[in-house]
């Protein structure tokens, strides 16, 4: 791989001079152009840091997030007057360490964001492949249902689902999947239709390959860049929805730290301790920004056709 050249001029010229022994794999090409995009790099670093916080929360957090230090309630951050180095970002109304809660909060946020994105991607893409590849009545049924489902207000739908399912990480994920799969289905379907009309798909059909093989080996790789982009953006959306649901008290059980719950708890003390609200907000913002930057960067670098598309 090391002898392949990365400048576009040389890459196109090389085969003319002598047939290249190995053409650079498209995955490597995409990777190379992706790491040259500042958005991908910055977004990727943010996502990496948040992921490390989530994975190694017990090692990073200075305190047990549920430990109530009732002598040190509503402490300000350590750099402010009256702060304590034991609690870098201060404590909440029950004397719990805000910094540790933020670190642990990343766990629920990423669990929900990632889990929901996987679910929505699988469900949405599967239906999109069926609709886009087979067309006809299958497409009409699926597309009509997607239109119908999308006209239900998302926040209302997810809240109602949560009331029905009850709280818990698994149910939050399920609710988001059931609301957001349509986003994947609609966008991926139109891309599948474009790819399905390409010559190599007709060739595969003429060669007598089965539908499953054609869908999985010929079409899916063609729409993969779009799916990766949507997947990344969906994680950000999942993080926001989880924050909304836990703010309302409809997400995780009381003993699990979550950013939305921290905001809701700090709301009653916003005059005495506004930082208790600001810090989880910053955590949500930075995390979502990371996924959005990564997703938008990938959108442009992986698929130039998407550059002009707005949504």
């Amino acid at each position: 791989m090391s002898d392949t050249v990365s400048t576009p001029v040389a890459a196109t010229a090389a085969p003319l001079v002598k047939p290249a022994a190995r053409t650079p794999s498209p995955v490597m090409e995409a990777f190379r152009s992706a790491i040259r995009s500042p958005k991908v790099v910055v977004g990727g670093i943010i996502v990496l840091v948040v992921t490390i916080c989530a994975l190694f929360a017990p090692q990073i957090a200075p305190n047990d997030p549920d430990n109530q230090d009732l002598i040190n309630m509503l402490l300000p951050p350590m750099w402010a007057e009256g702060g304590d180095a034991q609690y870098p970002f201060g404590t909440d109304s029950l004397g719990r360490c805000i910094f540790s809660q933020m670190i642990y909060g990343a766990r629920v946020a990423l669990e929900v964001g990632f889990g929901a994105a996987v679910g929505a991607m699988l469900l949405g893409t599967a239906l999109a492949l069926l609709a886009g590849y087979f067309g006809g009545w299958i497409d009409r049924i699926i597309s009509h249902f997607v239109d119908l489902w999308m006209s239900l207000p998302p926040v209302v739908l997810s809240l109602t689902l949560m009331v029905g399912f009850g709280t818990g990480v698994g149910n939050v994920i399920l609710a988001i999947v059931l609301v957001d799969w349509t986003r994947f289905c609609r966008v991926v379907r139109s891309d599948v239709m474009v790819v399905a009309r390409r010559d190599f798909v007709s060739a595969a059909k003429l060669l007598g390959f089965g539908h499953t093989r054609i869908i999985l080996r010929e079409i899916l790789p063609g729409v993969a860049p779009l799916i990766i982009t949507l997947f990344t953006l969906q994680i950000g959306i999942g993080v926001i929805v989880e924050a909304i649901l836990s703010f309302v008290g409809m997400s995780v059980p009381a003993d699990v730290p979550a950013w939305g719950k921290m905001i809701a708890g700090a709301r009653n003390y916003m005059y005495q301790a506004p930082w208790g609200m600001m810090l989880p907000i910053i955590a949500i913002f930075v995390t979502v920004l990371g996924f959005n930057l990564l997703g938008e960067g990938l959108r442009v670098t992986l698929d130039p056709r998407l550059r002009k598309r707005s949504v």
């Binding site: 006209s151 926040v155 739908l157 959005n292 002009k308 707005s310 949504v311």
Partner: protein, 339 residues
């Protein structure tokens, strides 16, 4: 043209019926999967088994779920959405009292969103190809990453708590009477009863929640406006206008902006549910007495009749707005008028 408008509105209206039915079915059946028994919240603690059965029978809860749904649907069509469990008031009255507040807030939010995003989109378009564009682009990505409810908290902490410039709780100061029997839109009611002091008070209460909604919504509009301006810049009429010697400013403001209005309006119609849904959290944060706030309370109390009713109203309102947008689209697009 009038005929075309009625056509569009009628088609939209008919198309909306399955959506409303689907929502009502989903909401009804999902809520029946609820692990908690709604009866437990309605009965006094010393109720006997026989009392429970009597109430269950009175509410029709002892019949099959499909029958229950059909009864509910029949009542709903006659304008009866049942009685709220937690407020012990008819759901329709609760909704009627709080819907105008939410509509007022959403309208103000939409207006502010346009005020923010039209200059924003133009700025982004004007900066194309420069370093400044990259900076603006990153700013827009940042804005996309802040949902309306986070803006609400920012604004409340900044302008409400820290600076103390604007009120951030309720629709008016406590002690100011909400006019009974008016339209429910405070800005209209106070204006036409010449209570300008109250009018100002209501307006100042509206600013922060509306701004929160607007800031959450405007990055979407900015992006569509930018991309449709970019698309328009390749069009023939722009070239023709240039050759006629119009200045770039004239071309953008008089021609391109008007052509970009259509995709922008489409987006607003398609995404209105997003803005409208944002009222749930924004109203809760600002203790604003609209149906969003009511919905959150209903959800917290597991108040099934109220949740069903509000979900239905949210859906119907969103669909109505879509219809209005479609009609507006025909009015603005000469190509569709002849159809």
């Amino acid at each position: 043209m009038f005929k075309a408008l009625i056509n569009v509105a009628a088609r939209r209206f008919v198309g909306a019926i399955p959506t409303i039915l689907l929502l009502s079915i989903v909401v009804f059946f999902v809520l029946r999967a609820l692990p908690a028994d709604p009866l437990a919240m309605m009965l006094p603690p010393n109720a006997t088994q026989a009392d429970a059965e009597a109430v269950r029978h009175a509410l029709g809860l002892d019949r099959s779920i499909v029958i229950q749904y059909l009864i509910w649907l029949g009542d709903a069509l006659r304008g009866d959405l049942g009685t709220s469990i937690s407020f012990r008031e008819p759901v329709t009255r609760l909704i009627a009292n709080s819907l105008p507040a939410t509509l007022e807030l959403s309208a103000a939010g939409l207006l502010l969103a346009l005020v923010i995003s039209i200059p924003g989109g133009l700025l982004l378009y004007g900066a194309r190809g420069t370093l400044f564009e990259n900076i603006l682009d990153v700013l827009v990505v940042c804005m996309v990453s802040i949902p309306a409810f986070l803006w609400a908290i920012f604004l409340m902490l900044g302008f409400g708590v820290t600076l103390g410039w604007l009120p951030f709780s309720g629709r008016v100061d406590p002690g100011i009477a909400i006019p009974a029997g008016g339209t429910g839109f405070l800005l209209i009611d106070y204006f036409f009863t010449f209570q300008f002091g109250y009018w100002q008070n209501a307006l100042s209460h509206l600013v922060l929640p509306a701004l929160a909604l607007a800031l959450g919504f405007s990055p979407l509009v900015i992006r569509v406006l930018r991309s449709s301006l970019l698309e328009a810049s390749d069009d023939h009429y722009v070239e023709v206008a240039r050759q006629r010697g119009l200045s770039e400013r004239q071309i953008i403001l008089k021609h391109m902006l008007r052509n970009s209005a259509l995709p922008t309006i489409t987006l607003i119609g398609a995404q209105f549910g997003f803005l409208f849904g944002g009222t749930l959290l924004v109203e809760t944060i600002f203790s604003y007495p609209g149906i969003g706030n009511l919905m959150v309370q209903a959800v917290r109390n597991h108040d099934l009749p109220l949740i069903q009713g509000i979900a239905l109203v949210f859906c119907v309102t969103t669909l109505l707005i879509n219809t209005v947008v479609d009609v507006l689209y025909v009015v603005l697009n000469p190509k569709l008028r002849r159809a």
